[in-house]
Symmetry: C2
Subunit: 294 residues, 2 copies
C-alpha cells in the first residue's frame, strides 16, 4: 500500500469519527452546525489527526480514545482556518477550492462557527471515553498551550499579522512558523504518544519528529505559494507576496528553501530511528510532505 492509499483509508476513518463527534447538521441552532460541518468536511488532508493516530500506534496498539483525540486536532485546525480567512485577517474568499465560511454564512456566523469548533475540541477531550482521567487533563493542557497565545498557534498568528511589512529576518520567520503551524503539528504527535502511554524518551523523540515535519510543511507551503497556481492549491496562490508576508522563499530564496525542506525531512527520519518498522507511515508522511505538489 502506498502512503497516499493509506492516507485515503485513514481519512475515511477520521471523517467517520468526526461525523460521530460533531452535532448533526439539523441540531438546533442548525445554521452554526451546518457552518461548523461545512468547513470541517471541506476536503482537508487530515494531516494532524493522522499524525496523532500514527504516533499513538508507534507506541501501542488499540489505544482507546485515540481517534477522538485525533479529531479534536482537526477541529482546532479548522477553527483557525475559518478565523484566519475572515476579512479582518487574511480576507480570503477561497479555501480548499470552495468559498470560505464567511462568504457562505456571513461574518458573524463564521466567527461563531470558529468559536464553536474550538470549544467542541475541548469538550471532546474532556469526555474521552475509556481514557484514564489523568491523560485527559494532560491532553487538554497540551492542546490549549499549543493553540494558545504564548508560543502557540494564536501567538504565531499575531506575529504573522504584525510581521507584515517588517524586515524579513530568519529569526522572525522561524518564530512565526514555530508557533503558527509548528505548535499544532508538534502537539498532534505528542497527544497520540501521551494517550498511548509513551515514556519520556519516546515522547521527546516523537516531539522532535513533529518539529521537523512542521518546519518542512511550512517551508513547502511557502514554496508552493510561489510555484503553483491557485487551481492546484485550492486557495489563492501568490497571496503571501501580495500581502508582504514573511516566507521562506522571501528570506532564503527558492533554491535554499528546497534544500532546507529536504534537510528537515532527513532530521524527521533520524528522530524516528528507535521505532524501527512501527514508524513506517510517519517516515513516509515526512517524504510526502516534502515532495507534495499541493
Amino acid at each position: 500500500m502506498t502512503i497516499r492509499e493509506y492516507l485515503a483509508e485513514q481519512t475515511k476513518l477520521i471523517d467517520a469519527e468526526l461525523d460521530r463527534l460533531m452535532p448533526p447538521e439539523d441540531r438546533p441552532p442548525a445554521t452554526i452546525h451546518r457552518a461548523m460541518r461545512y468547513s470541517l468536511f471541506a476536503g482537508g488532508k487530515r494531516i494532524r489527526p493522522f499524525l496523532c493516530l500514527e504516533s499513538g500506534r508507534v507506541i501501542a496498539d488499540g489505544t482507546p480514545g485515540l481517534a477522538a483525540a485525533a479529531c479534536s486536532l482537526e477541529m482546532v485546525h479548522t477553527y483557525s482556518l475559518i478565523h484566519d480567512d475572515l476579512p479582518a485577517l487574511d480576507n480570503d474568499d477561497l479555501r480548499r477550492g470552495r468559498p470560505t465560511s464567511h462568504k457562505v454564512f456571513g461574518e458573524a456566523m463564521a466567527i461563531l462557527a470558529g468559536d464553536g469548533l474550538l470549544t467542541h475540541a475541548f469538550q471532546v477531550l474532556g469526555q474521552l471515553n475509556g481514557v484514564a482521567v489523568d491523560r485527559r487533563a494532560r491532553l487538554v493542557e497540551e492542546l490549549a498551550v499549543a493553540a494558545g497565545s504564548v508560543g502557540g498557534m494564536i501567538g504565531g498568528q499575531v506575529n504573522d499579522l504584525e510581521g507584515e511589512n517588517q524586515p524579513p529576518t530568519p529569526e522572525l520567520l522561524e518564530s512565526i512558523h514555530r508557533a503558527k503551524t509548528g505548535a499544532l503539528l508538534r502537539v498532534s504527535v505528542r497527544m497520540g504518544a501521551i494517550l498511548a502511554g509513551a515514556n519520556d524518551e519516546e515522547l521527546d523523540a516523537l516531539s522532535r519528529y513533529g518539529e521537523h515535519i512542521g518546519l518542512a510543511f511550512q517551508i513547502v507551503d511557502d514554496i508552493l505559494d510561489v510555484e503553483e497556481s491557485s487551481a492546484t492549491l485550492g486557495k489563492t496562490a501568490g497571496k503571501d507576496a501580495a500581502q508582504h508576508k514573511i516566507t521562506f522563499p522571501a528570506v532564503y530564496g527558492l533554491e535554499v528553501s528546497h534544500r532546507m525542506a529536504e534537510q528537515e525531512r532527513e532530521r524527521a527520519h533520524a528522530a524516528l530511528e528507535r521505532f524501527g518498522a512501527r514508524a513506517k507511515w510517519l517516515r513516509e508522511l515526512a517524504d510526502l510532505i516534502v515532495h507534495r505538489k499541493a
Copy 2:
C-alpha cells in the same frame, strides 16, 4: 459586612488570581496579551467567578484550585463579550464605559484576543494544581458544554442573531436566554460545587439556584436596557429595541418582567434552603441581581 462590600473584597481576590494566571502584558506577542488583559480588567463585576467561589464554599472549606477554576469562567465570559461586540455581531463601541476591544486594537486583534482567552480558560482547567485529575476533566467537559453550540452560550448567541426581526414569542425568548447567558451562570455554580466534592443532590440544588439567578439576571438586564441611561450602564442603552432584539420587556411588558424577576429571586432562595447559613452570600447575591440599577 454588606454584600456589596463582600463582593468588592472577593473581586480583589479574583483579580489577583486572574493577574497570576494570565500571561504578563509584555510577554511576546505583547499586543495580544495587552488586548486580552484590557478586556479582562475592564471593571467587570466578576459575578461568574464569585458564583463559583461561593458555591464551592457552600460545600466545603479550602478547596484547592477553586479560585483558578473561578477565573476560567471570567475568561470565557470576557471572550464572549469581545466577540459579541465585533462589527459583524452587535457592533458595539462601548463596553463597561470604555471603548470595546476592536475599537482599541482593531478587529483582527479583537478576534484573536477572544480566541486566546477561550483557549487560556481551558489551559487553566487542564493545569489546575492540587486537584484530582478526574475533577479536572469533568470541569473541562462542563465548561465546554456550557460555552458550546448545543444549548450553550454560542448556541444562544446564534439564536439571538437569528431571532432579530422574528416574532417575539415567550418560547424563543426563553430558549435564547437559557443558552446565551443562563448556561454560563449555571455552570459557574456547578463548577464550584463539583470541585468542592458536592454530592448529586447538592449539585442539583445549586444548579437550580444557578438557573433561577441566570434568568433573573437576564430579565433585569433587559429591563435596565429600557429604563436606564448609557452613562449608568457603561454600555449603549436602548440598543435592544433599536436592533429589534427579543427581550423580556418586549414580550411581557415592564411590569410583568419586574414580577418575573422577583419570582426567580424567590425560587433561587428556595433552592438554597438545605444549605442554611453557609449559603448566605449566594442568597444576598440573588437579591442584589434583582435589585441592582446597572
